[in-house]
Symmetry: C2
Subunit: 500 residues, 2 copies
């Protein structure tokens, strides 16, 4: 039955690996069209896919869905015919040779001849787009299977870049950038990129995996500038996105070099980080963390990490936890990111609050930390501030006491009007005496409610509150003198402290 349906394929001589793959893909696509309503995964696909990666398969499925209407089988031999007549005779002959070539080695040889033709001075650049269309059609199957070998060794990597399309990359790597041929070849790649966007991440893979490309990662920048996108950042993001959709394993493999080669494009990009954490599983997260600790990967830098963590507050729970785990694998001091506390709302940002709580509890409190923690608005259900103050009180009570005192003195020197006191909870990082007192009163209650060994803390807590009571009474007297006509605000924490 297959023989009847696909005479073009079955009459051809038994093809070696590369072509076998094309055939199988063709069959599979046909299956796909016929049995569209049947399950998700095709058994015929299994032979060429990494079964471990479901996302991977998803990526691939998407690719096939892209052309579901065309008759898949008719595509292969028919597609380059319309282009052939637009090529000059020499080129046409080579392209036909390429189409007929049955093994990779021959394909590579012919491809090198095509590259040589392009580099000749009398090459008519009008043909470039047509040639790119032909190549995109002929190399289609190369963009389908997994790029990364199952087991990563020097040999398997070297073998994986022995594809005709990689010949273009290799030629570029061996050329000087000021060579006129360099830009011609780049133009060819740019044309190819328009027909086959996957070529972008294939180039990134080649530059990382091939020995011949050692130290040539910057070539990608030239490529990006030659494309219609014309810009490294956009191009890199598009290619990483395409890679994320097609192959998460490859995304993880590329991540360390992308971050180290293009720090300006990556280290400030929440977008890229989200692409990664949105698809990795916990094994890949652990691998990336090891890369960070081994010094092979830097994903955060002091100057941009705060901004990226703030961006991450809108992400999914697991994405946020992964982001924090990756951040914590770096050796960036916690002070750098403490200001994020101003952005963390109770109920809305529990992931970040949990992670920060666990980090703060390991630190000796600095003045800035205490200030930030006290600046959180008081909310009866939000126990973040009380939790961390209570912990610090039991471990570093002297230090904590000094810092609280400093905050009290600072904020007491600038008395606010009642109006501003009332709206203080909505203003972030705007400490008021009343707010500090409320936090301290919660701390005092927490310490007295449970058995604990912080007698000294409890004592100083009470002493502070006592001192503050006197201070507040003084302030209130001053205040009443100033605005004698305003009614007394009752039931505030300061008021309840005064009544005790």
């Amino acid at each position: 039955m297959l023989r009847e349906r696909f005479p073009e394929f079955c009459s051809s001589p038994s093809p070696p690996t590369e072509v076998k793959m094309e055939e199988s893909v063709a069959l599979e696509m046909d299956n796909h069209v016929l049995d569209k309503e049947e399950g998700c995964y095709d058994n015929t696909e299994a032979a060429f896919s990494d079964d471990e990666e479901e996302v991977n398969n998803k990526g691939k499925k998407r690719e096939f869905r892209f052309h579901p209407i065309k008759e898949a089988v008719l595509e292969e031999p028919a597609d380059i015919t319309p282009y052939l007549d637009q090529l000059d005779d020499t080129m046409k002959e080579k392209v036909l040779q390429l189409q007929k070539a049955s093994d990779t080695e021959t394909q590579c040889e012919v491809m090198q001849e095509i590259v040589d033709l392009i580099l000749e001075e009398d090459f008519d650049s009008e043909q470039m787009s047509t040639l790119a269309s032909c190549l995109a059609e002929l190399f289609k199957s190369h963009f389908r299977g997994d790029v990364l070998p199952d087991e990563i060794t020097e040999e398997s990597l070297e073998e994986s870049v022995c594809k005709p399309v990689c010949l273009v990359f290799r030629n570029l790597c061996t050329m000087q950038e000021d060579n006129s041929g360099f830009s011609v070849l780049l133009d060819m790649l740019a044309e190819l990129y328009q027909k086959q966007p996957k070529i972008g991440y294939h180039l990134l893979y080649y530059l990382k995996a091939s020995k011949a490309a050692m130290g040539k990662m910057s070539l990608y920048e030239s490529f990006a500038q030659a494309t219609a996108l014309g810009d490294l950042h956009t191009c890199l993001m598009m290619d990483m996105k395409a890679c994320q959709e097609d192959d998460v394993r490859l995304l993880c493999y590329l991540t360390p070099s992308i971050y180290s080669e293009f720090p300006d494009e990556t280290l400030r990009s929440g977008e890229l980080l989200n692409m990664i954490v949105a698809v990795i599983d916990s094994t890949q997260l652990q691998e990336l963390m090891c890369h960070v600790m081994m010094g092979n990967l830097v994903m955060f830098r002091k100057d941009s990490v705060l901004n990226i963590l703030i961006q991450s507050l809108d992400w999914e729970t697991f994405e946020q936890y992964s982001t924090w785990q990756l951040f914590l694998a770096h050796s960036i001091p916690l002070e750098t990111i403490i200001p994020i506390l101003q952005h963390l709302k109770y109920k809305e940002h529990p992931e970040a609050l949990s992670c920060l709580l666990l980090q703060l509890r390991r630190e000796k409190p600095s003045e800035e930390m205490v200030k930030m923690v006290l600046s959180r608005p008081c909310h009866p259900e939000d126990q973040f501030t009380t939790s961390i103050l209570r912990h610090w009180a039991s471990k570093h009570d002297d230090t904590l006491g000094e810092h609280i005192k400093a905050q009290l003195i600072k904020n007491n020197n600038q008395p606010r009007k009642r109006q501003s006191l009332r709206s203080s909870s909505s203003k972030l990082a705007q400490l008021t005496l009343e707010q500090i007192l409320e936090h301290m009163d919660n701390l005092r209650l927490s310490l007295s409610n449970t058995k604990n060994n912080c007698e000294y803390t409890q004592y100083y807590c009470n002493v502070y509150i006592f001192k503050l009571k006197s201070q507040i009474i003084l302030n209130q007297i001053k205040h009443r003198i100033i605005c004698r006509n305003l009614p007394e605000k009752k039931n505030g924490p300061a008021h309840s402290l005064l009544l005790r």
Copy 2:
């Protein structure tokens, strides 16, 4: 139309809150039966449910699904008829009064009269099971809505325990345990528990929420022993499981008291912890962590935490992360759980490895830590050991060096035969000289591969390897003398070191 279908309900006088709820539930159940194929959530439910809790709603849906065939509305008045004749006249009259009572206050009054009847000396205990069936039927609606008030305040809590069923709990709380009535009432509850298992967690809730029950949590133990289960542990686990399925918010609310009141049943129970982490969201996780830090909740104890963390290795990713977050909120020294490293397999336990990596990197390495880390089998893709050694080398190189030396000396004093060397990777925590060398060689490679400031570490690493080379040569010479006929094992790390 509603009036036609439910004359019993619509003709009754406008009922106060409690009964209104019953009506609405009835309507909702009817909707549910009629429009079963329509969406998941009912708008009529919204008024009585906590919209934030999806799991909660799921729990409720499950409950309704339990009786989908019966005509819901006919249930209420019809169900106790078969039981009534088995009750003596006084009791029958009271039960009918209870059925007719339209407001909670009256219901509570009648319920107290029923309790008084039970406590009378001439009460025929043969009736107990029948009475329990009646009460289970009549109180059905009380077990449907949310137990926990939306906003938790002293008042709302006190109001939430003003239900007729809570009268039984209250009577028990006020009685001495040696009072003969105490066991009679417990028997009644045990009968009720068989018809309505939710009563178990309702009792837990009452004991936590009601002021009248302050300090009486141990009553639950007596209850558990009176039930058919007859055992505190089983009963507690069943009730917490029922609570987990019905209402996650309540589960979180109960957690702190359950752990503090029943430490023997809870602190060693991976089962209970898994119940919790399997359903909480990140907000609830953050709340529980705050409880831990506030001293209101102890979920791990030094003697059992290792065992529980080992159990958690089979759980889902988020369950494991939550478990680690909760563990880290406690102040248990890392040394306690370091032996878990022996159980952590690369690829199988990435969650635990990530969490442990982040903890170890903050510690100054102890001898035990270094031993455990070096005991991990060498696998080219498993970079855990190299990552942490590299980090320690850059921060605590002297300490690390001393500990490695100690391990080398210890393991060098007990030379192993080649046979045992070969199988070493499968034996956990069994250090061999060869394995230490392989880890150190990986470390050396990692340090030389990248730019770093650990020149001293690199130097001592090389010096060690040099010293070891000499040691190994000596050992090999000894070894060859002992077993001259065995062929040389090539390509091992020690061998490759010797060749350098």
